[in-house]
């Protein structure tokens, strides 16, 4: 009986706690869910935008598949910047995107990286089949965009089935870079923009843009957003001249 009293007391405390936690939404904060690889470019663009606009830009950064999942569950993002068409397609199919707002903005290039001090002669994807290449790091080819793109490219080249046993699936592009940097794998596939931020890896092969998979970073407004006009204004800024030059600075290929 007194156990019940204690439980009642605690439930009451919890109720009081949660009821005190309401807060008003600030109409001028635009929340952009963006692939982690866009962090630096979007921070620069956000800062420049805030200097000339009353709106504030907030970023939430993570793997594109996490972000799509969150938006699909109703997370209050206003804009989604994906590193992958499939994640955007999923949201479009589920009716989460503002109709007509979606556009393809950026592209990137796949490259093969090896540790900066590597002595292996790797000059093409074919060389990765050699026996002295034991392990190849790749962001999970089942879920993460860069992994999906790479496996598609290797399959087109007829190399995927032979290379598959050597592939070590890792969390994302940064984890790929980290495992190459540490020398635990002989090589890895990453984006050119990511390879550029590490001094401990070198690019030994760039997948030609026309031959490689079409890597596309689409952007769209979220249907349930309550700040659509502000978000649209920021999206125009991102896809305008100032946004484009910031993305180019970080090595992205910008669609004209």
């Amino acid at each position: 009986m007194s156990t019940n009293k204690i439980i009642c007391f605690i439930l009451l405390m919890a109720l009081l706690f949660f009821s005190g936690m309401r807060n008003a939404a600030n109409a001028d904060e635009i929340l952009v869910a963006a692939a982690a690889s866009l962090t630096d470019a979007l921070k620069d663009i956000g800062k420049a935008y805030q200097a000339k606009s009353k709106h504030k830009i907030l970023l939430t950064l993570g793997p594109s598949n996490f972000l799509a999942r969150q938006i699909d569950e109703g997370a209050p993002a206003d804009m989604f910047f994906s590193a992958d068409l499939a994640q955007m397609d999923l949201l479009e199919k589920n009716g989460r995107l503002e109709p007509g707002s979606r556009k393809n903005l950026l592209s990137n290039q796949l490259v093969i990286v090896v540790p900066a001090d590597s002595k292996l002669a790797i000059a093409s994807p074919k060389d990765l089949l050699k026996s002295d290449v034991k392990k190849i790091a790749l962001a999970d080819p089942a879920a993460v965009p860069v992994g999906v793109y790479t496996s598609k490219y290797l399959a087109d080249e007829g190399l995927w089935d032979k290379m598959k046993p050597k592939i070590v699936p890792v969390l994302d592009v940064r984890a790929t870079l980290a495992s190459v940097e540490s020398g635990n794998v002989e090589a890895g596939f990453v984006y050119k923009t990511d390879a550029a931020i590490s001094k401990k890896v070198k690019i030994v092969f760039e997948v030609p843009i026309e031959k490689g998979p079409k890597i596309t970073y689409p952007v769209a407004l979220i249907k349930e957003s309550k700040k659509k006009e502000a978000a649209r204004d920021f999206m125009n800024y991102v896809s305008g001249a100032a946004g484009k030059s910031a993305f180019k600075k970080y090595g992205f290929v910008v669609f004209e």
Partner: protein, 224 residues
């Protein structure tokens, strides 16, 4: 840059939400631990196992479950949303992720310390006319307080380290939901190793302090 204003903001935010999370789970943890240690009830072993699950499950999958529960698409999430309570992409999401992930550690430690209190003392107090509630607050809790504090410290340290459930439920928003763990992830993602190491240093110092203090309390407690 390394110990910038931003670094301190992230640290204070993590400590603040971690503290709130620990205070939030403390009463629940104490009551549940007492029910586990002192009472027999149907399906108790099932309840004990469920409480421990977040300790061993991949944090990302716990995060996914939390996202399903609190997301606007679920009936409960919708109910909260209609009342203006936002959990996803909000500091409250950080709080809930931390609370859920650190709860098992608290319950386990407190349960052990309750078990070590001699039930004879509780029975004597009861025969002298103390109500069950009085016995609990005057005999059981004071005798077990070191274990309770040790458990709370351990839960607090675990809350500070939380990553997987937090990034799924609360997102990774600098200045709004970014904790030490999430900031380290972001610095690693963008190749800013020196900033990542600075936060790592802070994390190690905090974690060491709380875990060491927790262990010290357990070492120095008397069992009656």
């Amino acid at each position: 840059m390394i110990f910038s204003v931003e670094t301190w903001q992230i640290t204070i935010f993590s400590l603040g939400v971690g503290l709130a999370s620990t205070l939030l789970i403390l009463p629940f943890g104490i009551v549940l631990a007492w029910l586990f240690a002192r009472k027999e009830w149907p399906l108790k072993s099932v309840a004990e196992t469920i409480v421990l699950l977040p300790l061993v499950m991949p944090p990302v999958s716990t995060g996914l479950i939390l996202l399903k529960i609190f997301g606007r698409r679920s009936p409960f999430g919708q109910w909260l949303y209609n009342r203006g309570i936002e959990i996803v992409f909000n500091w409250k999401g950080v709080l809930i992720a931390m609370a859920v992930m650190s709860f098992p550690l608290l319950v386990r430690s407190v349960r052990t310390s309750f078990s070590e209190v001699n039930p004879r003392l509780e029975q004597i107090a009861a025969t002298l006319g103390a109500s069950a509630l009085k016995v609990f607050f005057v005999i059981t809790v004071p005798l077990a307080y070191k274990g309770i504090v040790a458990g709370a410290l351990l839960a607090f340290a675990r809350a500070l380290g939380e990553f997987g459930a937090t990034i799924l439920l609360a997102g990774n928003i600098p200045g709004k939901t970014q904790t030490l763990s999430l900031a380290i992830f972001n610095f690693v993602q963008t190749g800013k190793d020196s900033e990542a190491y600075a936060l790592l240093g802070i994390t190690v110092i905090l974690a060491f302090t709380f875990v060491w203090f927790s262990e010290w309390l357990l070492r120095t407690r008397k069992t009656v």
